[in-house]
Symmetry: C2
Subunit: 234 residues, 2 copies
Amino acid sequence: MAEGQKTTGSIIFAVRPIRTTLSNIRILVTDPVELIADGLRARLADIPDMKVVAYAATGKELLEHLAEAEIDLVLIEVSMPGMDGIDATREVRKRYPNVKLLAHSVLTDIEYVNSMRIEGASGYLAKSAPVQEIIHAIRVIMGGEEYLSPTVSASLDAGYKFTGKRMDGDYVGLTHREREIIRMIAEEKTNEEISALLFLSLETVKTHRKNLMTKLNVRSAAGLVKYAVDRRWI
Amino acid sequence: MAEGQKTTGSIIFAVRPIRTTLSNIRILVTDPVELIADGLRARLADIPDMKVVAYAATGKELLEHLAEAEIDLVLIEVSMPGMDGIDATREVRKRYPNVKLLAHSVLTDIEYVNSMRIEGASGYLAKSAPVQEIIHAIRVIMGGEEYLSPTVSASLDAGYKFTGKRMDGDYVGLTHREREIIRMIAEEKTNEEISALLFLSLETVKTHRKNLMTKLNVRSAAGLVKYAVDRRWI
DNA sequence: TATAAAATACCCCTTTGTGGGTATTGCGAC
DNA sequence: GTCGCAATACCCACAAAGGGGTATTTTATA
C-alpha cells in the first residue's frame, strides 16, 4: 500500500500532490456498445492511475451499478436509447453528487454539450477523441476542473446557436407530454393523427408543437426530428 | 506452418475442412470510434483464427487501407460521416470483390439492413451484439454464408417495411442532387430557400422532394430528416 | 395553502408542404 | 445512334404546418 502510493506519486503525480491520495480512478463506461469499454480498458491497461472497473449498456444499468459499486468517474455517451445520457446525467448528479461525469459522444452539437454541462457533466469529448485526450480529460476533471474537447469547444467559441433561454435549462426540461409528441412527430405522424392517438384536440397538439419548437429553438418539424433522432428517442 | 494448420483444424475447423487453408482471418474495423477496434482487438486476442489487423475511421481510409493491405473481412459501421457504410460497401464490392463485409451498426432498421445486403455485405450485426456473436458471424461469413443477427432478422421477419421497389435498390440510388436536397431539408431549409441556394425553381425543388419521398418510401419531411440523420449526412 | 408549471384548448391568418400528374432537355452508357 | 436516367420545370388542388396570440383547468411542489 505504502509502496503502491509511492510508486504512483513519483511517476504520475509529481505535479499534483493532491492526487497522491488517489491510488486509482475507477471508471464506469456507459455506452450501448460494450466494445468501447473493452477498448478503453485495454488502452488503459498500462496507465497506473485509472481503470475501467465497470460497464453499463444503459442509463438504467448505470444507476444500478452506482448503487453497488464505488465509482469515481462515469464516461457516458449522450445518444442512447432508453434513458439517454442527458437524462442519466441529471439522475446521477441528483443521487451521487460526488461522482464525476465525462461525456464521450458521437454528438458534438452545442445543444448537447450545453445540456450535459447544465446537468452536471464535468467534461465533454467527441467520440473521435484519441485515447490520450480521454486520459488527459479524466485527469483534469478529477483535479476539479472542467474539460471540453477542442472539437467541442470550437462550437462554443462560435457562439451560442440558441438563445439564452437554453442556458436556463428549458430545452432539457421537455415535459413528458412534449416528449411523447416529439416522438410521434419524428415517426411522421400528422397533428391530426397525434390528436387521435392521444385523445387531444388538434389545437392542443399544435400548441405542444409550438412549445417544442420554442424550447428547442428550431424552425420546423425537421429540427424536432433531428433532435429526437440524435437523442435516440426513436 | 504445418503444425499451425493442424492445430487450427483440430480445434476450430473440425466441421469445416475448407477452413484449414486459412491460418488467420485478417479483419479491418471501419468505425468512427477507434476504441471499438481496440476493444475487438482485445477480445479477439485469445481467438487464434482471427485478428484485427487494421483500423479505418472513415470509408475513405478504408479504401486506402485496402489498397495496401491484405484484408479478409471488413467490419463496418453504417452510420458514419463522410462516406458512410452503405456507400463504402458499394465501393469495396466494386474494387475488392473478394473482401467480405460485415456490417456492425447502431442502425438496425430494415432499410439499412437491406441497403447493406444489396450493396454486398455478407452480414449484419447490431452494435449491441455480444462478441461471441461477432466471432460466430465472422466464421459463418468466411464459410461462405450470410449471417444476420437475430436482432436484425427480426425486422426482416416482420415483413418488409417498404415496398419491393426498395429491393430494386432505388433507395440506395439517391442522385447527387437528391442528396444535396435531402441535406438541406434536414437542415430545416424551406423549399424556397433551397431553390434560392441551388438556383432552381421552387417547382423543381418540390419535384425532387417528391422523388426523395417516393424512393425512400416516407410520408413527409420527417422521414427524410430521419434518414439523413441516421446516415450522418448532417 | 399558494404558486408555478403542465396540460389543454381555442381563434385567426399565413405559409409551406404534399399528392397527382405532365413535359422537355442533357448526358452517359451501350 | 438509341435508350434510360437525371435534372429541370410546370400545373392544379388542398392538406398541413407554422406564427401570433389568448385562456382555463389540473397538477405538483414548496
